[in-house]
Amino acid sequence: MKKECVTMLLAGGAGTRLGALTQNLAKPAVPFGGRYRIIDFALSNCLNSHMFTVGVLTQYSPLELHKHIGVGKPWDLDRMHDGLTTLSPFTEHTGGNWYLGTADAITKNRTYIEGYDPDYLLVISGDHIYHMDYDKLLRHHKKTQADVTISVLEVPWKETSRFGILNTTDDLRIYDFEEKPLHAKSNLASMGIYIFNWNVLKDYLEKDATDPDSDHDFGKNILPAMLADNLRLYAYRFEGYWKDVGTIESYWEAHMDLLAEDLERFLNNNEWRTYSHDSNFPPQLIDEHAVVHQSLVNNGCIVSGTLDHSILFENVQVGKGATIKQSILHPGVRVGKNVYLERVIAKEDVVIPDNTTLIASDDQEPIVLSIENQKKMMNA
């Protein structure tokens, strides 16, 4: 059955800079925002922009991720003729291999894509926190008659060296890429969101697959090759909140962003809801000893202590006399009595005994507490 646009969601990355957070967990499956996993934002964008043909490419530690996405039900992607398809590396009669890069992952799933005979291919990643209407991007792509459209974000000039920067003419036609430039000529950063004309991309993927020196990566290989051939590459300006939660610091920061007044409507937005699983826990119980300020709290929590600028996922319990400051507690965490936490991220099911004090100062990276590293952390 023909579909105008097929979406490929890259969710196979290891997210190594997230340290203990991605130890046994793919980055897109890392809990975020008090009830979600990171991939929920991209999947909810698909639903809200009516992109209903979605291939999710998984590779690194995929168990939790696969359990979470299932057949795509929370995002209305359990559909008769298209919907969500999980695409993991596979073997065939000629052998098999892992996904070697972003472009290679698409090449290896050509059969999936061609089953829908699409005109356009939307490539997104499951690593970012943002709301975006992909349909608007597609319409822009058609209007400019581009071969490729890349979604870009204006970043502060002093941060340009952290991003892939696109140099464009006034009408946003791209003439140059610079990966993490020291002296940028533009502050338009690529968000890793691309729309390709499928019949154009197909040929480039084919060529790239036979090149032994290629990293098989969109940013490093495919797009530069297209640019060299003078194809029509256009930028699409995105406005709104976008965060790459690539490091523990930025993961923590993104959560503090959610508590800030100007991002109030980000999660609590009826026009652009973010969908996820629900484990049916009862409402949170805030008891007579609790004090709760500037915090986000989910179902099934029992709070007896003080919360300040903190985020509690479902089924967390905080004991009497405990103070939780600027911290993030993942599902199932138990905090004992008289505990003091500041800038701590406690992973799923960690139990923090009574009278523990853990503080990461402002110049330190926030502490990540997991069942595995807990003993070492407590003694330090």
Binding site: G33, G34, R35, P74, E264, L267, N268, R273, T274, Y275, S276, D278, S279, N280, F281, P282, P283, Q284, L285, I286, D287, E288, A290, V292, H293, Q294, S295, L296, V297, N298, N299, G300, I302, S304, L307, I311, L312, F313
Partner: protein
């Protein structure tokens, strides 16, 4: 393996919650901060490996049907069995049946077609979190005709007056069913019997112009039937009046009661609303309250229950109250002993106060 089908009979639960049941049946009334009354019974059935559940409902069932949908949220959207809502779609011109027997008569084929040999029947007014497998095993082991689920309460309240009380012998066989207000041994409305016996009793009741399956088919045949009791020991509540509705909601603000109802067994399932976590702002003062997701709290909330998506403005105070989905409480409002049904807006500086025993109820979508 022997299995049961489930039947939730709402025929005897009409309009018992005043304003809250103006527009919906009692089973669809919100309860406990994120649930509806029927969620407890339905979840207990689903958790007990009951694969098909029928619901007898006479009227005001739009809200109930909207809530239940295909039954997917209870894992009851099944290829074999699943959820069957059976409203009064009655067109047999020879039908002489009365009361709840009408539902049985007009759905005989449904029961005959079902794969299970046993039926578990319940209403929606008994709030508990349990699995019926031990009760079912007890029924089979004792070779009973009927097994009724009973419980006892330390203190009896007005809601227990309407309940049937149970007298049993030392082996658990029922010797008397009555309304003795002194007896704390209460029938919960949940019972199991063999499907073939159910159908025989139904035919017998109809032939004799009876109108109440439990009273005329079972209680009246106490001499003839072997009725066993099975004692429910966990946390439970009976809700059949505004007074008991208010008191039993408020009872969940006690941490022990809350843990016993929600954490002693696996979660109670409900329709999922996909709201974000609740936001407590800098000026919020919240104490001893049960709060669902999607709320934004600037004001003070004390000894109260907030359902999903409630906004409490700065300087507003909510005390001893139940606030249902999406209510907006503007700055400076003072609420005490009130129940706001869904989508109520209370504008700036308003003061509403009900009595402690009889809360002030505001009907759905009211603007004050």
């Amino acid at each position: 393996m022997e299995t049961m089908m489930g039947l939730i009979n709402l025929e005897h639960e009409h309009d018992f919650l005043n304003e809250l049941t103006y527009f919906r049946c009692g089973a669809a009334v919100p309860f406990g901060g994120r649930f509806r009354m029927i969620d407890f019974t339905l979840s207990n059935m689903a958790k007990s490996n009951i694969q098909e559940v029928a619901i007898f409902t006479r009227n005001k069932y739009r809200s109930l049907m909207d809530h239940l949908g295909s039954g997917a949220d209870w894992d009851l959207d099944r290829r074999h069995g699943g959820l069957f809502i059976l409203p009064p779609d009655w067109n047999d011109p020879t039908d002489i049946s009365k009361g709840d027997l009408k539902y049985f008569h007009n759905n005989l084929d449904y029961f005959e077609r079902g794969k299970s040999d046993y039926v578990l029947i319940s209403g929606s007014q008994f709030i508990s979190n349990t699995v019926y497998d031990k009760m079912f095993q007890h029924h089979l082991d004792r070779n009973a005709d009927v097994t009724i689920l009973t419980t006892t309460y330390e203190t009896l309240h007005s809601e227990h007056n309407a309940c049937i009380k149970v007298v049993q012998d030392e082996d658990g066989w029922v010797t008397c069913l009555n309304n003795d207000t002194e007896n704390a041994h209460i029938f919960t409305g949940v019972y199991i019997l063999r499907k073939s016996l159910l159908l025989d009793l139904v035919k017998d009741c109809i032939a004799n112009h009876k109108s109440h399956f439990f009273l005329d088919g079972i209680k009246a045949n106490l001499e003839r039937l072997n009725i066993q009791t099975y004692r429910y020991e966990g946390y439970s509540a009976i809700v059949n009046s505004v007074e008991s509705y208010y008191r039993q909601n408020m009872a969940l603000l006690d941490t022990n009661a809350y843990k016993k109802l929600f954490f002693d067994s696996t979660p109670i399932m409900t329709k999922v609303g996909n709201q974000p976590p609740t936001k407590y702002r800098g000026t919020s003062i919240v104490t001893k309250s049960l709060i669902a997701t999607g709320c934004v709290i600037d004001g003070s909330v004390e000894n109260s229950i907030l359902f999903r998506g409630v906004h409490v403005g700065e300087g507003a105070s909510v005390k001893n109250s139940i606030i249902m989905q999406r209510c907006k409480i503007e700055p400076g409002v003072h609420l005490e002993n009130v129940i706001l049904d869904k989508d109520v807006s209370i504008s700036k500086e308003q003061i509403l106060k009900g009595a402690k025993e009889q809360p002030y109820i505001i009907a759905k979508r009211t603007i004050i």
